[in-house]
Every structure is written in structure tokens, then in C-alpha cells.
Symmetry: C2
Subunit: 215 residues, 2 copies
DNA sequence: CCTACCGATCGGTAGG
DNA sequence: CCTACCGATCGGTAGG
């Protein structure tokens, strides 16, 4: 017994069943925010939900901000992927531009916790935002779409970044209002309603962005 | 001494020097959010800043949500007033519509803490939002402006609420991105820059909202 | 990845 | 409006 105990203690005890505590912590964070709100997010509660003691997360994240940065990065990757998927189904430049915006709004509704972390007032430092990483560069995708529309002659000349910022404002505003529940009084709550609304708003704006004889 | 003590105790002791602890608590809340971020807001710290013990706020607010509701209501009043002021300077319906949106964005920048409380994911109950109070009904003002534009023939037919929601999305998105510091990388930080940007975006959208021969 | 511990803050209430 | 108190949670670290 004396020789068996110590040997087994270090050999047979499985460290973490899932094998990927880091990912488990990210998922626990999202579930927590979605169920209890952002204010309830603490490293201790996240650890609790992931089934480890409150000191374990520090093996993977220096602090709460580092955890949130990882959540945000994952969110930008997913959002960019959704945008690409939806744009790929379209056959015209303006169709792709609209799809880009609709995907943004749908992502926000389907991943509200991700959206809150990505665009909330957290983060003391800029959080590269994916400008260095194509798979997470949602804004770059939008700018490219605008440029494509300009080349096709369906959107006016001008700095694509400035026009893109206008598109971003529109869909970000709608997404924020939806995620924060400000449109419940207007009877908008389902994904399908949000999709229709985002499509209508996007079309109105693209119309304003178009070339006109008088401009 | 035996008769003097008790009498004076209830008569001469000033309760609260400012005379309006309620207002002092609202101001302390805004200062706290603006200096330390929303996450740092606690009733205790608010009380501390107002110079009273942490039990005092409960004389004015049942809990934190009640305090925040009062902050939000004050914010909606101020925002609506700013919109009216700026609209009054315009001479055309479309000018007033644009001014309405620009005022929204400027209010957000100048009163970021108010804006965060007003549109954040707090509040378990709807928070009347001023639909019953004309002095705080910013959305009603926007709808009225849209209606005026329709009557003047500068905005297409259609449910004014739906068109108003599109305008709201645009300015709410720009305001949110600015308040949450997401446009610092784009070099936009001053009030004047925000005003110019809001004006340009609003004009693009109003153009899209206009009547066209093809629609 | 865990146990055990630190100092600190919090919301809320009793009772005056 | 204050004092004194409650139970609970938190971020973070030592040390293994």
C-alpha cells in the first residue's frame, strides 16, 4: 500500500476529462452570459460551470480580459464565415452586399453573447479585430463587397471605407437594438422577422448608395 | 441637558446638505460609469461618491435597477430636448429629419454614460421609454419627422414606423460604435468629426428613402 | 489542475 | 440618514 499509493496518485488521475479545458471555458462563458447576463460573468463562475476549481482557468487565460478576447476572436471568425456563406449564394454584386449585412444581423441574433462580447465596451487594448487575420476580418469583407459594387457601377464612387462604415452603422444598429431587446415592443422577435427587416433596411440604404443622374 | 439633548437631536440635525440626495446619486452614477466603466457601478460606490453611507440610497431607490431607470428617464428627456433644439434650426422637412439623427449621435457622444444606461441590456421590465411622456419620446419625434417628409413628398409612402426604424438603426449603430470606441482605429474621435460623419450617413439614407421614378 | 488562503467588495436589512 | 451586521462572491496567489 505504501508503494502503490503514491505511484498511482500521479499516474492514474485523469487531469481533465474533456481534454480541452480552454474550449470548455469559452463555451461556459457564453452560456453564462446568455443565461445570467454579462454582469454575472466572473472567472470563478465560469470555472464552476466548466467543472474545475476557480484557479484552473489561470492556466489558460491571464485574466478575465484574456478570456473575453478569446471569445471575441472566435466570434469574429464565425461571423466572417457566416457572411461568406451567405454572400456565396448571391449572383450579383449588390446581392452580395445585402447578404453581407443580413448575415451580420442574423449572427447577432443567433450568437447574442458572442456579439455582446465582440462589441461591448470591454477591452482596454484595441483587440486586433482581425485586420491581420483574413478569416476574422468582417469589415475587410464588407469593404471588398463595396469595391466590387463600385466596379460594377451599382454603387457611387468614393472611399469604400467611408461607404462601408455607413453600411456597418446600419446593420450594427439594427443588430444592437435586437440583441438588447429594444424592438420587442415592435413585435420583432423571430429570426425570420429580423431577416426580413435587415433585408428591407439594407435595400433602402443600397438604393441611397447607388449612382443617380443628379449626383 | 436632559431636556435639551433629545429636543435638539431631532430638530437641528440637517439631513442632507445638498438638499437633493436623489439628484446627487444620479450624477454620481454617471460620473462613476464614465470614469470606471459600467461594470464598476454599485450602489455602495455611488453612495460613497455622493458622500453618504451605503444604506442611504435605499431611501430613494428600491434597488440598482430603479436607480438606473431614473438615469435612463433623465437621459431620454435630455436627448429629446436636444433633438428638438437642433430640428428647430432647420427650414426644410428633410433638414429636420437629418438634424434629428445628428442630434442622436451627438447626444450619445456627449452623454456616453447616459446612452449606455438607456440602451444597455439592463432592465428586466420594458421601461416605458417615454411613449407615454412627450418630453421623452424621442422615437415619436422621429416618426413625426418622417411623416412630415412624406407629406412634403420628399420621402416615399409607407408605414412611417418602419421607415423610422431604419433611420433609428443607422444612427443607433453609428452612436454605439462611437461610444464603444470601435471607430478609434478609423481616426474618428472628436465631436466635429462625428457630426460630419452622422450628417453624411444621414444624407445617404434619406436619399435612399426618397421617391424615385423607378419605385 | 487542486487546496487553502488573502483582502476586498457587494446587496441587503435591523434598528434607531 | 447612520451604525452595525449578515452571508456571499470576487480576483488573485502560494505551493504543491
Amino acid at each position: 500500500m505504501a508503494t502503490r499509493g503514491p505511484r498511482k496518485k500521479t499516474a492514474e488521475k485523469p487531469r481533465y476529462h474533456h481534454g480541452d479545458l480552454r474550449q470548455a471555458l469559452l463555451e461556459a462563458s457564453l452560456a453564462l452570459i446568455s443565461e445570467e447576463g454579462f454582469g454575472a460573468l466572473s472567472l470563478r463562475e465560469v470555472a464552476r460551470r466548466a467543472g474545475v476549481t476557480h484557479a484552473a482557468p489561470y492556466r489558460h487565460f491571464a485574466d478575465k480580459e484574456a478570456l473575453l478576447a478569446a471569445v471575441a476572436e472566435q466570434g469574429f471568425r464565425t461571423m466572417t464565415a457566416r457572411m461568406k456563406e451567405r454572400m456565396a449564394r448571391e449572383t450579383t454584386p449588390e446581392g452580395r452586399l445585402g447578404a453581407c449585412g443580413v448575415a451580420y444581423v442574423l449572427f447577432a441574433m443567433e450568437h447574442a453573447s458572442h456579439f455582446r462580447v465582440m462589441f461591448g465596451p470591454h477591452f482596454t487594448q484595441p483587440l486586433h479585430l482581425g485586420t491581420s487575420d483574413g478569416d476574422a476580418d468582417a469589415f475587410g469583407l464588407l469593404v471588398a463587397s463595396i469595391t466590387e459594387c463600385q466596379r460594377a457601377g451599382v454603387v457611387r464612387e468614393g472611399e469604400p471605407q467611408v461607404l462601408a462604415l455607413t453600411c456597418w452603422s446600419l446593420v450594427h444598429g439594427l443588430a444592437s437594438l435586437l440583441v438588447d431587446g429594444k424592438l420587442r415592443g415592435s413585435g420583432i422577435s423571430t429570426l425570420a422577422q429580423a431577416e426580413a427587416l435587415a433585408g428591407a433596411q439594407t435595400r433602402l440604404l443600397v438604393r441611397g448608395l447607388g449612382r443617380s443622374s443628379g449626383d
